[in-house]
């Protein structure tokens, strides 16, 4: 069963219109998963990660139910059964 990444609505145009992307590459961490996603969809990568490879300040990335900010960041482990979810944070003005 491949790892699944849930794409938020505003980023779906950069992912070929997909709400879910299945990754068949081997991914040990959420960073690996985002890198693999970015290879397929560089427009998604640019909007999720900065040039320095950090998750943008007002975005949250979850592995299943856990926000990676409160885990090991991009080093948070994932498994083929994981579901990675990208969501805009509750912020803005």
């Amino acid at each position: 069963m491949p790892l699944v990444v849930a794409i938020p609505g505003p980023l779906q145009p950069y992912a070929g219109g997909r709400a879910m992307v299945e990754l068949r590459e081997r991914c040990d961490t959420v960073g690996d998963a985002l890198e693999a996603l970015g290879e397929q969809y560089p427009g998604v990568r640019d909007r999720v990660l900065t040039e320095q490879g950090d998750v943008r300040q007002h975005l949250n990335v979850f592995v299943d139910e856990d926000n990676v900010r409160f885990a090991l960041g991009l080093a948070t482990p994932v498994s083929p059964e994981s579901r990675v979810t990208i969501l805009p944070a509750v912020s803005g003005g």
């Binding site: 505003p10 980023l11 145009p13 950069y14 969809y41 560089p42 427009g43 640019d46 909007r47 999720v48 900065t50 040039e51 320095q52 490879g53 950090d54 943008r56 007002h58 975005l59 805009p88 944070a89 912020s91 803005g92 003005g93």
Partner: protein, 395 residues
């Protein structure tokens, strides 16, 4: 001598914290039609119009708080906008920097119609040699020895002003950092802040570190520049080597916005604010100040502007002139009002009263070709609107 533009209509690009608006008028500038918001919901701190080489291209720098800053363009006056998958403006990985916001978009000189510049936060200059298709960070500024000592102003550590000076000279200004000039096409940069004070530092006249808010110059006399500082109003007549106080008769020398007259290098416009602690116009009277003698004196321009209870402020890119004759002068306020003058500031009319907070106003005189396209689009819009809803008008 600068050629005065044949006025076939004026385009006013208004960037706000919630998107971009475009106002159009005929050459008479008596009636304005609004369209937008474009780039809906995104802060648009930088806009520009590029009418060189037959282009009629609008540019906008958007600052999506979630997904990062993008550079967007429109060749149909806002109807559609480019949407590249990858962000056009990106710092090289080895710089250790990440783009926060695009603060300035500036087409290069007319004789180099494919050159464009962007000023960004963190302070850096990006250059394009192919009319905005690809961009490169200026290496001289990226690796400048002063970089570790530049510190963010209230808006962030931003390069907000680009002043092409001709013959390989270019000036930039940042907050904080001050004014820098390159004489070799951007290869090397030197701070040029002699005479510009830094109220917020123990050394009031350092080599660099000033909080410059805006610098303008006129292409016919590029060695002359006007500078609105975070406290201080200055002029240089020697390419920025030395600066001299010209706050002669203004109610405050604090402010952000500054614009040069399109045809007269002695004429400039500012909107003074009371202080850094109270960033509203003095005495709650909304007044633009104009000098016609290069800063020896300033005159308040208030006819048509609110003179009571006007707790307004105008940001650094919120004031601009068009290239008509007589020149148009335009500004937008943080409270969402846009004012226009078609007689060089003598009288003013409100063009919009309730936009989102205005952070950028740029005026462009349209060529006959653009004007034709505008009429065509307006006709199409009218036809569509008559079937569905009333045409939106600013006033």
């Amino acid at each position: 001598m600068i050629k005065k533009s044949a006025n076939s209509g004026v385009l006013l690009l208004v960037g706000t914290t919630k998107g971009a608006f475009v106002f159009r008028s005929t050459g008479a500038r008596t009636k304005w039609t609004m369209s937008g918001p474009y780039l809906r919901g995104e802060p648009v701190y930088a806009m520009a119009f590029d009418g060189r080489a037959g282009r009629q291209r609008m540019w906008a720098g958007t600052g999506n708080p979630f997904f990062g800053s993008s550079l967007r363009s429109s060749d149909d006056l806002g109807k559609t906008w480019s949407e590249k998958a990858e962000h056009a403006i990106k710092f090289p990985a080895e710089s250790g920097l990440a783009l926060k916001q695009i603060w300035q978009i500036r087409p290069g000189p007319a004789h180099r119609p494919d050159v464009m510049y962007c000023g960004v936060e963190p302070s850096a200059l990006f250059e394009s040699q192919d009319a905005g298709k690809t961009w490169t960070a200026n290496a001289g500024l990226l690796g400048h020895e002063h970089r570790p000592k530049w510190t963010p102003g209230g808006g962030g550590q931003c390069l907000h002003t680009i002043v092409p000076l001709g013959d390989g000279r270019i000036g930039i200004a940042m907050s904080t950092g001050g004014f820098y000039r390159s004489d070799d096409g951007g290869k090397s940069w030197r701070a040029r802040n002699v005479g510009v004070r830094a109220e917020f530092l123990p050394d009031k006249y350092p080599e660099f570190g000033q909080c410059v808010h805006k610098v303008v110059s006129h292409p016919s006399r590029p060695e002359r520049m006007f500078l609105q500082n975070h406290w201080g109003l200055y002029r240089s007549d020697d390419w920025g080597e030395t600066w001299h106080d010209i706050a002669n008769g203004v109610p405050s020398d604090f402010g952000f916005a500054m614009a040069i007259h399109p045809h007269d290098p002695d004429t400039a416009y500012i909107v003074p604010l009371e202080s850094d602690q109270f960033r509203c116009v003095p005495e709650a009277k909304l007044r633009v100040y104009r000098t016609r003698d290069a800063g020896k004196s300033w005159k308040a321009l208030s006819r048509g502007l609110p003179q009571e209870g006007a707790f307004e402020s105008v940001l650094r890119d919120g004031l601009d002139t068009d290239a008509s004759d007589p020149a148009g002068v335009y500004f937008g306020t943080r409270s969402g009002k846009v004012f226009a003058s078609r007689d060089e500031g003598a009288t003013w009319e409100m063009v919009a009263r309730s936009l989102p907070s205005v952070v950028c106003v740029k005026a462009a005189v349209m060529s006959p070709a653009t004007s034709h396209a505008t009429r065509k689009m307006a006709t199409a819009r009218r036809k569509k609107a008559s079937a569905h809803r009333p045409v939106r008008r600013a006033r």
